[in-house]
């Protein structure tokens, strides 16, 4: 049985005269220990998907349809009590903005031990030991002293490490990282990504890495899912995705990244702009910007799948 199985997920919010859908029929699965990258630009629905797994969607946004099975249990139907027991212990999340993810009024020691005692039956002393161990695992030196410090005394990269420590303290089976490095410098980014990779290897947790940065994702993930306009465009092992992208959007997106390895002066973009939720027709969301579009594309493309990959395009041959 898969660790996480999402089936036909629809997320959206109501407006006068209908619903605006942010995620439109997304399905994918993860096994224990998988490292999957969820890639997309604004409007792709990637963050909403992550929030939906933990049932942290902000009203009026909610799950409209579909199931999210974790270890067989459908989280879309679970009650708040069940979710509370899962969050932080079985499934954890690391957010983008480390500054607002930590409460500035409390020491990180307090915040760490709070998470630990909420989910494990341990006393404060043992919780403290676990906290120190977690800080050590994320590469924070002199953890005992650091426990007594406040978030503002940490640099951006260190704060992110603290958030990761909080996320793994209870040894979750699935760690969701939503753009964990976007606000950080390049050198720190590389460190955090390496840390995530190491933790995954060491703790055997499954990692769902959400980002818009394809290259960064490829450093830590084995498999990638490309989202656009709330729909899945392509799913493939990372090397296959980069080597032979089959979906027009994936191909276009890859060509947009300015690489040091390419000869200078070549910068590609995709004409048009990213989709706006609520203004999308029934067909493929990439239609307005796709150079390969045909008439059939006004109907939602099927997902053509083989053992290794899935492509949502009328014109793709796997």
């Amino acid at each position: 049985m898969a660790l996480l199985e999402i089936d036909n997920l629809h997320i959206g919010y109501p407006v006068d005269g209908g619903t605006v859908e942010l995620v439109r029929g997304l399905s994918f699965a993860m096994e224990a220990g998988d490292a999957v990258g969820l890639v997309g630009e604004s409007g792709s629905g990637k963050s909403q998907t992550a929030l939906a797994i933990l049932r942290l969607l902000r009203p009026p946004v909610r799950i409209l349809k579909g199931s999210i099975r974790f270890d067989g249990q459908d989280l879309a139907q679970a009650d708040e009590r069940t979710m509370r027991s899962l969050r932080g212990s079985m499934i954890s999340m690391v957010f983008q903005d480390a500054l607002s993810g930590l409460n500035p009024a409390f020491t990180i020691g307090t915040q760490l031990t709070d998470v630990i005692t909420a989910h494990r039956r341990v006393g404060r002393a043992e919780a403290r030991t676990i906290a120190i161990e977690a800080l050590g695992m994320v590469g924070i030196r002199e953890p005992e002293q650091r426990l007594r410090q406040y978030p503002h005394q940490f640099s951006g990269g260190m704060r992110q490490r603290v958030l990761i420590a909080m996320a793994i303290a209870c040894r979750p089976r699935l760690l969701i990282a939503d753009e964990p490095t976007t606000a950080l410098d390049v050198t720190v980014q590389a460190q955090i990504v390496a840390l995530l990779k190491e933790l995954r290897d060491r703790l055997g947790l499954a990692l769902l890495f959400i980002t818009h940065n394809l290259d960064l994702m490829s450093q830590v993930c084995d498999r990638a899912i490309v989202l656009y306009g709330g729909m899945l465009m392509e799913e493939a092992p990372v090397t296959a995705l980069f080597g032979s992208p089959r979906q027009p959007y994936t191909r276009a997106l890859l060509s947009c990244v300015p690489r040091l390895s390419d000869p200078p002066g070549k910068i590609t973009s995709i004409d048009g702009s990213p989709p706006v939720a609520g203004r999308l027709g029934p067909g493929c969301p990439f239609v307005p910007r796709c150079s390969l579009r045909i008439e059939q594309c006004d109907m939602r493309p099927p997902e053509r799948a083989n053992a290794m990959r899935r492509v949502a395009c009328w014109r793709a041959e796997t």
Binding site: E41, S42, A190, V257, P264, I267, P274
Partner: protein, 268 residues
């Protein structure tokens, strides 16, 4: 031929001690944001200024734009020393250097329509009121926006559109030097190149000289004629991208390059 912009040993130190009593007693907490920076930017060049947060590149941009005074050193524009100029004396130069900011949401007054923003720019550039409407339309066209956008407010525009308006605002003054501070970092990847291509096209057509501040080495590699790497307020390496990015001499440059994520090894 004089360089368009010349920085000579420019330094900027901030005083962190704000309390009255320690200051009176001479106790200071200086922070050197920019230390002893010297640069030459020739006409038509595109200088890339690279560095991580806190390296001083934004402060340097503010000094060049005379939004902040330098603590020491000289800033020369087209041969004239503008370091100490203020008010009226600085006015004729203000027009010739313009900047595009990183966050287009913050760089446009949320309560002003595009028309008003561009109109103010044109007004200060000396364009007569009668010609302003036409000029606004022309500017919008130049940056690839439909003329009807003039009546919109910033929140009615997408990020890319806002950035185009910010560029139009800068162009309204007919500058000779355009400083772009991370102009595309807040945009989607598939859009970044649209704005970059616009900037390059404008540079070609209007003969602009550009300073391009970025943390993205890939962008610098593709767009710039020269590169300066900054760390802790100082320029640690300078040269043409081909040299600097392939054969970095300084440790920090090497570190930056090593941290750039590369795609996976693919058998094409």
């Amino acid at each position: 031929m004089t360089a368009l912009l010349e920085l000579e040993r420019v330094s900027k130190t901030y005083e962190l001690e704000r309390r009255l009593v320690p200051r009176l007693l001479g106790l200071r907490k200086p922070l050197a944001a920019v230390q002893d920076v010297s640069l030459r930017v020739e006409r038509g060049a595109v200088l890339g200024l690279v560095g991580e947060s806190g390296c001083g590149k934004s402060t340097l941009a503010q000094i060049i734009m005379r939004l902040e005074p330098a603590t020491s050193g000289a800033v020369r524009f087209d041969g004239t020393d503008i370091t100490a100029l203020e008010g009226r004396a600085l006015q004729p130069f203000r027009r010739r250097l313009q900047m595009v900011f990183q966050d287009s949401t913050a760089s446009l007054n949320p309560r002003k329509t595009v028309r008003r923003v561009l109109g103010e720019s044109l007004d200060l550039a000396g364009v007569a009121a009668a010609e302003r409407a036409a000029a606004i339309g022309d500017l919008l066209e130049q940056v690839g926006l439909d003329r009807s956008f003039a009546s919109r407010y910033p929140h009615q525009l997408s990020g890319g559109q806002r950035q185009r308006v910010a560029i139009a605002r800068a162009l309204a003054m007919r500058p000779e030097l355009l400083v772009a501070d991370e102009p595309v970092s807040s945009l989607d990847v598939s859009l970044q190149a649209q704005i970059l291509r616009l900037l390059i096209e404008l540079r070609r057509r209007l003969g602009l000289t550009m300073i391009f501040i970025s943390h993205d080495l890939g962008l610098v590699h593709h767009l710039c004629s020269d590169v300066a790497v900054m760390q802790a307020g100082q320029i640690v390496e300078y040269g043409v991208p081909a040299d600097v990015l392939r054969n970095p001499q300084h440790d920090y440059t090497r570190k930056l390059l090593a941290a750039v994520p590369r795609g996976p090894e693919v058998a094409a």
